[in-house]
């Protein structure tokens, strides 16, 4: 293929206009942050200047209100689970290594770092910036304003290296806890797996019921040839906490990466996942379930970028929206010109369970190669009245019948959660939030 024949559309720079009021708010926000902490680096200042502060006219932020972000800039002295009064391990019975971050600071006493040959795992602050993977033109820091904020202020997080061929014996639980009022926490995790290494991570976010603040988490992971990375990500934050999370995952040949996201609770949640598949034979899997209740907002943005031939990706997001809640799903599958024989699948199904709930879905395909199989489906509906009738005619109450349907509806997403204890706890917390007693009666595969 000659250069002139290459599509010019692919990386066409789009001019996204800055919005004066948003720029002012954003600048004031940064200035206020500077007053409460010192910036980790000035490396992202250029990007922060260049990128528009998100507002409704920026396509990626069309459905996502950010006004509530500007008020939370404080840092707090509460840095241990003991002071915060929360459990170090939020998942009962989970046998895992553990890193606990309270309000963005590593709590060494509550943590249990892995001691395993070939595994380097420590808080980022102990490692130093030089060891961190560099930022490039595709990194969230250079493409999204909020990620740029993370780059500027995020100083702590997980530093993980797994050597060639090493499989870590237990999962690593990364627990973030937020407490206090008006707080702003930024964390960044830096993960690299060498060839054929394997690791399972559980990212669990919690917040005190009195908490009020913002959390900005950025995870960068490089998955080398034949390596396997599995992330179970659970967001269960009480209080008035806004949570934005970026995952930037780069895959090499024959690697396997999975991220399973379940949003149990969260006032305002945005997940921004990007998989870049740079080696053939790789597989990416992204699943998610979100069940926002009254007043909650959940936004899932995903990008799967197929850059080379013979790769597969599978994506499945399920949403059930209760009360006056809003959901957003934006999935983008990108198949570059050389990525022949790509097989990409994307599914997004939503149920509106309340007349005040709304969903905005945008499943996108952008395809520049011809010998590919790409499909996506998107549905919005309600509980199947026939199924409800069937259950009720057999003596199951309406709410219980609905709970049953919910269990079936998000079952395939929950099933993807690798760590059984995490899955059970997620089910337990969902049932608790929505008052589904019936769930505890279900037989469990792992029991």
């Amino acid at each position: 293929m000659t250069d002139s024949a290459k599509p010019q559309l692919m990386d066409r720079p789009k001019t996204e206009a800055k919005h004066a009021a948003s720029e002012t708010s954003g600048a004031a926000f940064l200035a206020a942050l500077d007053g409460t902490r010192s910036a980790a680096t000035s490396a992202h200042d250029e990007a922060l200047d260049r990128l528009p502060v998100p507002h409704r006219r920026v396509e990626r932020w069309k459905y996502t209100p950010v006004a509530a972000w500007w008020k939370d800039v404080l840092s707090t002295e509460v840095h241990t689970v003991q002071a915060a009064g929360c459990a170090a391990n939020p998942v009962p019975g989970l046998d895992a290594y553990r890193l606990v971050f309270v309000n963005g600071i590593f709590d060494a006493l509550a943590s249990d770092l892995p001691v395993h040959s070939g595994v380097v795992c420590m808080p980022l602050s102990q490692k130093g910036d030089a060891a961190v993977q560099p930022v490039d033109a595709f990194s969230p820091e250079t493409t999204d304003w909020f990620a740029g904020v993370n780059g500027k202020y995020g100083q702590e997080g997980l530093y993980l290296r797994v050597a060639k061929g090493v499989t870590l014996d237990r999962p690593i639980l990364v627990h973030h806890h937020t407490t206090g009022s008006g707080v702003f926490n930024a964390l960044r995790h830096d993960i690299a797996l060498e060839a054929h290494a394997q690791v399972t991570l559980v990212h669990w976010s919690t917040a005190a019921s009195s908490a009020d603040g913002s959390v900005n988490i950025l995870t960068r992971a490089a998955v080398a040839d034949g390596a396997r990375l599995h992330i179970d990500k659970v967001q269960d934050e009480e209080g008035q906490v806004r949570h934005i999370a970026f995952e930037d995952i780069r895959q090499s040949s024959d690697s396997h990466a999975e991220v399973h996201t379940v949003t149990v609770r969260g006032q305002w949640v945005r997940n921004d996942l990007a998989f870049r598949i740079n080696g053939s034979g790789a597989h990416a899997e992204l699943n998610g379930a979100f069940l926002p209740g009254e007043g909650e907002f959940v936004d899932n943005h995903t990008t799967v970028d197929h850059r080379v031939a013979h790769c597969t990706s599978s994506e499945n997001y399920k949403g059930i929206l209760y009360g006056k809640s809003t959901g957003v799903f934006n999935g983008k599958v990108f198949v570059r010109p050389d990525a022949q024989q790509t097989n990409a699948y994307q599914q997004n199904a939503n149920i509106l369970a309340s007349d005040k709930a709304s969903i905005n879905a945008k499943p996108e395909l952008e395809i520049y190669a011809d010998d590919v199989k790409c499909s996506h489906g998107c549905t919005v509906g309600q509980f199947d009245s026939d199924a409800l009738f069937y259950a009720r005619s057999r003596g199951v109450g309406l709410e219980a019948a609905k709970a049953m349907l919910v269990h079936a509806f998000i079952g395939d997403v929950l099933k993807g959660i690798k760590v059984a204890e995490v899955r059970l706890e997620v089910e337990h917390r969902l049932a608790e939030k929505h008052g589904w007693e019936v769930w505890s009666d279900y037989p469990n595969d792992d029991a």
């Binding site: 969903i359 996108e364 919005v380």
Partner: protein, 482 residues
Amino acid sequence: MAYDGKDKVLEEVTGKSYEFGFTTEIESDKAPAGLSEDIIRLISAKKEEPEWMLQWRLDAFAVWQTMEEPDWPHLNYEKPDYQAISYYAAPKQKKQLNSMDEVDPELRRTMDKLGISLEEQKRLSGVAVDFVMDSVSVATSFKDKLAELGIIFCSMSEAVKEHPELVRKHLGTVIPTRDNFFSALNSAVFTDGSFCYIPKGVRCPMELSTYFRINESGTGQFERTLVVADEGSYVSYLEGCTAPQRDENQLHAAVVELVALDEAEIKYSTVQNWYPGDENGKGGVFNFVTKRGICHRRSKISWTQVETGSAVTWKYPSCILKGDHSVGEFYSVAVTNNAQQADTGTKMIHLGKNTHSTIISKGISAGNSHNSYRGLVQIMPSAANARNFSQCDSLLMTDTSGAHTFPYVEVKNPTAQVEHEATTSKIGEDQIFYCLQRGIDAEQAISLIVNGYAKEVLNQLPMEFAVEAQKLLSISLEGSVG
């Protein structure tokens, strides 16, 4: 793949010349290039328009000056210089025509070349045609016969003069002036177009048709179509277009507004075959069109489009389902070849209860072209029991072309049922093999497969158009084996 004649056949297609690329040597009356209030006053004066119309244009111009050309479409083109275009070009006519026989013979020949010999069509297919060249409607056939039923079918400029109450009542109600950059531009400078009114309870006995042609160089075409179907009426409306082969990019920014009052039905079909530019992407028409219809109670609007031409297409025929039980449909086949780019789709805005919409979009990309579907399905809180089904399939012919899907689904009512599905694939090698095995050559096999693929949409077209569309499809794709 098994078939080795691929390159040869591909060359043939790219070498295929545009059939309608001739120009007509008609003296024309052309305004100087550029856009200003004076030009708008000139256009308005030339059209002998009433004062309210001029004011409407000037307001639109003021709005347009504050707007910016959209950057969000998935298109890559050099933005036209709006001051380098002549906004008015009319085939010169000495006097008001009384019958078809008085039409300039050159013009008649153009029509013949386009295969729309008006007389013949009158007799054979019973289609009433309004022919718009450059910016001015030059002939409308069958007018008297339609008038007997109370149907008004005439050029827009005539309607402004003779039916001001209807035009004033509906013009700009579906697509307000400030709707977007191109609709504002059109509102300021539109020169002609078609107007159609079907009275209460009348079923229009024949297809109404408009044929658009850009002839002059350095001009743009800005026509405006308004179709009003009064309560309980029915009309089927066809639209076709061609342009001469030129090195420059010509601009076509039309606005089409449909109003379907209670229990009315409008079927609007387009076969768009503007000059697509040469194989290197030089020349060709920029087709920036705003089309929208509003459905009142129990009414129905159905858009069918076959898009094969234009260098750049930006077009989203939409339905506002305002009335309860109204129905919106969108059927589209968009074919892009060589360096063509298309960003097309629809918007279905559900406001009324029990409203239904269907979207079937078939994209076919060949050469180095890019074909995008962009659609919005919006269910507002008031739209109880709304139902939408969308299907967007893309067929890729070459590894240098692109197929993209950008569907927006916004649902604010829990009783809604919305389904969207999209697939992208290339023509099945097994299907071609099956045909080859049975003595059908690759060329024909592709034509067969593509026609089968697009059948759901082609079936929606009126008979005369379906034949033309099928021919167009095979010409546009001849040999594009991928």
